[in-house]
Amino acid sequence: MTERGDGVEGMPDPVTKQLTTLRVNGETHTVAAEPHHTLLEVLREELGLTGTKHGCELGECGACTVLVDGVPLLSCLTLPAQVRGMEVTTVEGLADGPRLHPLQTAFAEEGAAQCGYCTPGMLMAAKALLDANPQPTLEDMQQAIAGNLCRCTGYTAIYEAIAKAASGGGAGAQPLRRTGAGRASASHT
């Protein structure tokens, strides 16, 4: 039997790029992009900001997390038109010039980045948490990164790093690892 491809001739639509103005990491960019292209695609392909990662294309892995006016959103499920006039922050905008954000320092020091692919998204979710809640509990931290999948680290080092960044990274940083960083009861029943 011959299986005719189910595509329609002429697809995709003749390319009609739309001009969109975006505020990303404090700078204004006007990009010409196809209007159905996601914020993720525009960040990576039009602006060359490849720190934000593709992971699943359906909003389940969190690798593409960016902040929109400080709120963590999935850039793979967001259209650039929806964030017009809002401030988008990506991992590239986290450091202050050469000075790393305390979260970045803590992630590097604690080994919270293993292969590092989930790290940018994880950092953005963590930043939103600490901006809203500078002294998060373990439960808060777990809530905040529950939508960011990591296949390498086992997560322990990640919330250890968040805790370290929260406490200023000094010697008083609460040692969570191996001392019973319990998971709150997640039973819904």
């Binding site: 639509d13 909003g59 963590p72 499920l77 259209l79 038109a81 529950a146 029943t189």
Partner: protein, 282 residues
């Protein structure tokens, strides 16, 4: 594909009315997946996520939650339904809760939509509007099948409304992991003491959100005896029988998330626990 960012509801209703290829987008957590996978390529999009009018919660007597209210907002601003809060907390991830809206849940009408059993148990009314006017649809008549409902293409869901039902209510679900859980089975139980009414609704247990009428009557009988306003636990036997009646209302199937048999079983367990839990709330 053009994207029109609507200023207000009228703007949005007009925009969908004039362009019959236009589809609505709010949080995008469902529609964008379809677009990313090339399963849908709307000719035009009308974005309603910035329409302020859709983002309010009011509780003057009747509760009204705007369709554009996100799950994060439902957790921050009390909509007067403990069950809805519990359901909102269990939706996806923080990122999904920041984008996803209750209106989106209503529009997608997935049997696994977490807010839907709660709206069903609350006997909420869905308010939709188009250039042709406004319609109010009881939730019981809203869903017509899995991911199908009575919304016309040019209609915008503007709000869900219900009578405040008091503190005796809960939402429970079982999934296969502890976060980003899609329900294998879910259940909402609302005991409206002032109206002497029990609402039970099941998610992920049939083609639509199902109600358990016999279980509701049974629970009402139990509460008649215990006293509706009191905080008293029903007997274990009563809870178990309630659970069995709830399970008998399910029409589950075997699918990738779980088996029909397990769904029925776990529904009976959840229902028994739910009744025991809400009966002592006050």
């Amino acid at each position: 594909m053009a994207v029109h960012v609507a200023r207000d509801v009228d703007d949005a209703t007009r925009a969908v009315a004039v362009d019959e290829r236009a589809e609505l987008i709010a949080g995008g957590t469902d529609l964008m997946v379809e677009i990313n996978f090339g399963r849908r390529r709307p000719g035009a999009l009308v974005a309603i996520d910035r329409v302020q009018e859709l983002r309010g919660i009011s509780r003057s007597g009747r509760v009204r939650v705007g369709a554009g209210v996100t799950y994060t907002q439902l957790l921050a601003d009390d909509a007067g339904s403990a069950a809805l809060r519990e359901a909102s907390r269990s939706v996806g991830s923080p990122q999904i809760r920041n984008a996803g809206t209750i209106g989106g849940n209503i529009a997608t009408s997935s049997p696994a939509g977490d807010a839907l059993p709660v709206l069903a148990a609350l006997e909420a009314t869905i308010v939709v509007r188009s250039v042709r006017g406004e319609r109010r649809v009881p939730f019981a008549e809203w869903m017509t099948g899995p991911k199908r409902n009575g919304r016309a293409r040019d209609e915008i869901i503007v709000a869900a409304e219900w009578e405040s039902a008091g503190p005796k209510q809960t939402f429970m679900k079982v999934g296969t992991r502890n976060a980003m859980v899609i329900a294998v089975a879910s259940l909402a139980l609302v005991v409206d003491a002032s109206r002497r009414r029990v609402g039970v609704a099941l998610g992920s247990c049939g083609p639509t959100i199902l109600r358990a009428d016999r279980a509701q009557s049974f629970a009402a009988g139990v509460l008649d005896e215990l006293g509706w306003e009191r905080q008293a636990a029903p007997t274990e036997t009563a809870c178990a029988e309630f659970g069995a009646l709830v399970a008998s209302a399910a029409r589950p199937i075997d699918d990738v998330r779980g088996t029909a048999a397990y769904r029925s079983h776990v529904l009976s367990v959840m229902a028994a626990r739910a009744l025991a839990r809400v009966a002592v709330l006050g």
